[in-house]
């Protein structure tokens, strides 16, 4: 996978799992999320951190995760072996990113991993993190996947709590999303913690998809299918996207930049969106064409 493709890969569902639980981490790919986030931070008891690191190290170096992205949520700053990327907890400034990246560079050299192969993402958990979202997004162009809002801490810092509908998160979500899009990186929503409130989870996922998020952090395999379903394009969207991409390729070969598809004017600005629809459709098992 090229560096750009790795940065921009599909990340609809990013499932957290505690690195303290070997039975979970050994084969969580069977639930087929887009990304797994092995948590060394809050999900691991303070006196179990070493054991969790040990288990995770061996899982990452021996288990074939079959194409599922492996991210690690670290404690403040730390180094992981063999992960695809690092989720930086409580990220507030570009400096936090730089610090982690410096550690990663040294670790990549020490453990013989290709330089630049370990990606990073920032978890924004405070108002300061949200205000600095743009500089965080730009802090490591080669490694930065994007940013995720972390609702638990953010709500506390904002002196509020969870409300159905999520009005309390509107400012944080919107500001982070705008910063991420301006910087050209991805943007992920926070977890939904009530596992029994399937309808609430569904509504929140629909809302963040409508807002423009790339995906959502998850805490249970049973949330995965719902996210994938909501992020699946409709058959009409897939047909339109396919027409646009095909017409673009044909017209490009002829040297034409602006053309019409079904009576609508299409130019290069439409292409990334159409390609993303095809990618989502393929990942959802709804598209098996050759594009």
């Amino acid at each position: 996978m090229s560096a750009q493709k790795r940065l921009k890969r599909l990340r609809r569902s990013m499932m957290f799992l505690s690195a303290q639980r070997p039975g979970l981490i050994k084969d969580a790919y069977i639930y087929r999320p887009d990304s797994l986030i092995f948590d060394l931070e809050d999900a691991v008891a303070e006196n179990q951190k070493d054991a969790a690191r040990f288990s995770l190290y061996h899982a990452l170096t021996t288990v074939d995760y079959r194409g599922v992205e492996r991210l690690v949520r670290i404690n403040g700053v730390a180094v992981a072996a063999g992960a695809d990327g690092i989720r930086i907890a409580k990220c507030e400034t570009a400096h936090d990113v730089h610090t982690v990246v410096e550690h990663i560079e040294r670790a990549e050299a020490e453990f013989g991993r290709p330089a630049g192969s370990t990606l990073v993402m920032g978890a924004l958990e405070s108002p300061l993190g949200i205000l600095n979202a743009y500089e965080i997004c730009l802090a490591s162009p080669e490694r930065m996947i994007g940013v995720a809002i972390s609702g638990g801490d953010y709500r506390k810092a904002m002196q509020t709590r969870y409300y159905p509908g999520g009005l309390e998160m509107l400012g944080g979500r919107s500001n982070m999303l705008i910063a991420a899009r301006a910087a050209g990186v991805q943007c992920f929503d926070t977890v939904f913690t009530d596992l029994d409130d399937i309808e609430g989870f569904r509504q929140e996922t629909q809302m963040i998809k409508q807002m423009g998020f790339d995906g959502k952090s998850l805490i249970s395999p049973k949330q995965i299918a719902i996210v994938h379903e909501i992020f699946s394009p409709t058959p009409k969207e897939i047909r339109d996207a396919e027409k646009i991409v095909r017409a673009w390729r044909e017209n490009q070969a002829k040297g034409v930049g602006v053309f019409q598809v079904d009576g609508k004017m299409i130019d290069i600005a439409f292409i990334p969106g159409a390609e993303r629809v095809i990618e989502l459709a393929r990942a959802s098992g709804l598209y098996e064409g050759e594009l």
Binding site: D27, I30, Y31, S220, P221, K222, G285
Partner: protein
Amino acid sequence: MKNAVNRNIPDELLRDGYEVFQGSAYRNGDSYQKAAPQARLRTNRQDSKVLPSIRAAIEAVGFRDGMTVSFHHHFREGDYVVNMVMKELVDMGFKDITIAASSLGQAHDPVAEYIERGIVTGIQTSGIRGKMGEVVSQGKLKTPAILRSHGGRVRAIEEGEVHIDVAFIGAPTSDVMGNARGKGGKSDCGVLGYSEVDARYADHVVVITDCLVDFPNFPPSIQATYVDHVVVVDEIGNPEKIASSAARFSTDPRDLLMAEYCAKVIEATPYFKDGFSFQTGAGGPSLAANRFLEPILVKHGYKLSWIIGGITAPAVDLLNKGLVDAVIDTQDFDIAAVESVHTHPRHYEMSTSQYASPSNKSAFVNKLDYVILAALEVDVDFNVNVITGSDGVLRGAPGGHPDTAAGAKCCIIVTPLVRGRMATICEEVVTVTTPGECVDVVVTDYGIAVNPNRPDLLEALQKTKLPLKTIEQLKEEAYAIVGRPDPLPFKDRVVAIMEARDGTILDVVRQIDTPV
């Protein structure tokens, strides 16, 4: 001699009419003369059959050394009856006793000592677990234990392979004449279907109850016409272990993933239509499949016609929601099932014979569309083991597994690919309890394999997005994770015979060479 599932059966076992397994349909259509119990005339007035103690009943039936006693397992791990009766027999000095139970569990650990002392010399059962499983695996039982499916047990009794001298039937309620019910009392187990055949075929029938009720205790599960004596004791079982308070609905995401696959397999296969019939085992993923079945039924506007088997809350739930017309019950696993069989007009009791026996003219299993079953191991020939653990020790029960697998149009086995460090999908199972020819689909957390002898099901499932793999692929994936196990260190001595439901020898279990 090798049998049809490629198992080597020692020639010395092939006597007294014993044959090797030659395929599930080998004996279809065979005729046989039914065995008959010794019976007695009662021409005089009768007021009561109640005797003061188990000992008095043992004396009244004229118990002798070498006799066979039978029990049911409706009280599951809460049963007190087996231990009470066996202790009395041992205290009275009897020896050379054969226990022919519908199943035995850890509740019966004290029997292991009687085996070691050479007092109990024969065991015929479905399940064998705990200490009893260990001592039998160590070769301490004088004769090989005979393991049968529930249906196979009925057949063995009806064909006279096993003759019950005295049936001791624990009953939650009985009247003075022995009309016994599974319903009511303090040890309520709902139904008494396993004992129906014992009552009909035993020379002597003793009902043991802890709740004597007014005559007539109707409608009875066991009719007084078969009963010789009634004994009232303080407790026949521990109610908390007889029926669990809540159905254990798994929240394990792995179980739920597999359960969802099972429901999707059902939805995609040809027998899924309005009015199909269904059974699940009581294990985590099998049970959870009920949860995923419901939305699929609603989506298609379908209803089940009937559910059979060991009944749990999810089946009762479907009945109460009007999503199944009738529940026909051989055993109750939880309080919801026990309560429902008391109250719901479309929840019926049936005998094990009617449920699963190959020796009658229409067992329910023969008309079953889908069954979902668990497994300890499945091999690349789709043979299933549910009796021996990865250490080769007896610790399970075929139960209705071989009966339903043989009868159902689509038998789905659900099991995780690995358990701990053991591969569940393997090259060769330790013991064949259900032949691979009866197994159609194997659902694991890593993918789904279809038996090559069911190309119709494979074709149907290929139209879905379910992760289909070959059984060999699953086996290789399992071995890639946990490694290939070393062969188990068995001695030559046969400690148990696994009978196919038609009475032929499906497999043997040999003595384990390591201390347990």
